[in-house]
Amino acid sequence: MKAFTQHRGLVGPIDRANVDTDMIIPKQFLKSIKRSGFGPNLFDELRYLDHGEPGQDCSSRPLNPDFSLNQQRYQGASILLTRKNFGCGSSREHAPWALEDYGFNAVIAPSYADIFYNNCFKNGVLPVILSEDEVDTLFSELAAADGYQLDIDLASQTVTSDSGQIFNFSLDQFRKQCLLEGLDEIGLTLTQSEKIKQYEIEREKSQPWVYGAIK
């Protein structure tokens, strides 16, 4: 897995709450059997004026001028600033894949849907949780300054603005460690193989119907 330690980058906004995973990557792109290449279709329906289909060359499609990330000043943004309950709806991991492929290393929002939040960590995208007030502050600072950047440091769990303001965020220590070190979670779990086997032996004795049913 891709590691995340610290990141400094340009901020791009999506100023709406409840952005669902259908919006992040519309379902027609879920037909891919690959993990990569979703970036050009991130926010497809908001971003382009025409209807997107997989396999299209997106560089010649008409852009929606009203979509924030299409504005010149946000080109190259690598930190997404947005509102509460980001990533709600379908569990598709294509959502963080698309964010990552587009170039986002981190998202900042007051809250996330559970599955999306979880999926981000597995793909090296850091979902930062700040309070609604702090997110408000960042939105106003961003609106006021062209080329607005933030520093995110995972080890110290801080977001620092150029004005020197520091925002602390909290997260689960296991996830933090995995992300810092870019650990392979499956490999990590397999180090506990003996425990899993032991569990299975016990369980099969007490609840045999759980085993061998599907053939």
Binding site: K27, R92, D172, F174, Q192, Y199, W209, Y211, I214
Partner: protein, 483 residues
Amino acid sequence: MVARTLYDKLWDTHLVNENHDGSALLYIDRHVLHEVTSPQAFEGLRIAGRMPWRLDTNIATPDHNISTDRSERDAGVSGIPDEISRIQVQTLDDNCDHFGIKEFKMNEMGQGIVHVMGPELGATMPGMTVVCGDSHTATHGALACLAHGIGTSEVEHVLATQCLVTKKMKNMRIRVEGKVGLGVTAKDVVLAIIGKIGTAGGSGHAIEFAGSVFRDMSIEGRMTVCNMAIEAGARVGMVAVDEKTIDYCEGRKFVPKGDVWHQAVAYWRTLVSDSDALFDTEVELHADDIIPQVTWGTSPEMVAPVTALVPRPEDEPDKELRKGVERALKYMGLEGGIPIVSINVDRVFIGSCTNSRIEDMREAAKVANGRQVATSVKQVLIVPGSQMVKAQAEAEGLDKIFIASGMEWREPGCSMCLAMNADKLGDGEHCASTSNRNFEGRQGKGGRTHLMSPAMAAAAAVAGHIVDVRSFLGQPISQEIQL
């Protein structure tokens, strides 16, 4: 002993290891796979040179992007018109064959929407942990399972280790007491719940649905309710075991028989929350307050009783919420303040993992029987959730009722629930839909979804607009059939 909730019990039983930071290794009993969220997981296994930990836990079927058209289905996988969909379905077949995973292929008896086929085959049983790369996995919680959706990396993790690294959620209990009135179904109950607690109301919680309304409800109704737990922000929805649960399971394909069956049943009966168990959050609704529900906006919480008016943004004091209402009305092409029953529908979709079981088909058929689809309605799709539902419905003659009414009887799959196949809404079209999500573009770009129960959707098909189904029920209809 400390009093435990149903969720606590399911959690404890499956705990392989607990880490210091509160994360845990949870054992997974049943893993359900479909074509959309599994290819990258299998690819990951291959790249790492890993094999599935245990084969007899996995069960697979294609559902999301297969055609529901009879002639296309008859042509097999090669008959799927969209090339990319075809590759995805073919990839699932290949992966299952390669790794030796039991798959119910596209036209085999047993195939269906993952959350319909799992319980009906008895692949999901009470007390199990059930996961699937699909957020509506909560459906299986109707059988007192700990069931939830996972991402593709987790699909790979479960394939490779039979475990999930996860954290315990908080306990929430939603009680609905009383008796629901005529025309009020499981769908109306769950929509009313979401209307009350909002789409993030259950975040971080495992919800147990309790109270007389759920006790009175069939297992299929309970599945409809648990299915939409995710629409209330909770990954998990559950109902405790009772006699109905046990009756439902008995005799199903993968359910044990003989001594093991009795042993299982004895254990299953313990799968109820202790009477003095504590919940972190409690919510209560009363059945008397629930009448048929319809969504008017672009989020399941934008729901109202069918007798209500579409809300007006200016009546919403909170600024953020007002913006949300304005945006939703604009997308839906609706004026605030108009009666919900004045909304015309262009298409009707009865299906999806929320409402495509045999009871749903029966409810819709009851309304459709002896009536005709309004001429203004372009299409009414009736899509059974599985091959077994389809066969049962045909045995009862329901397909004939639908066809006689001018509705289309389709092959099992997700169909117009998410428009990954050919079944979609056109730009600006309004749809009376029994699915679970009314997000922008969910049923096709620019499509406008109104979520409701199967009976309400069938009534809308006949009326040509949203209508209170209670006016259809109880009145004499010609050629009434016995259902």
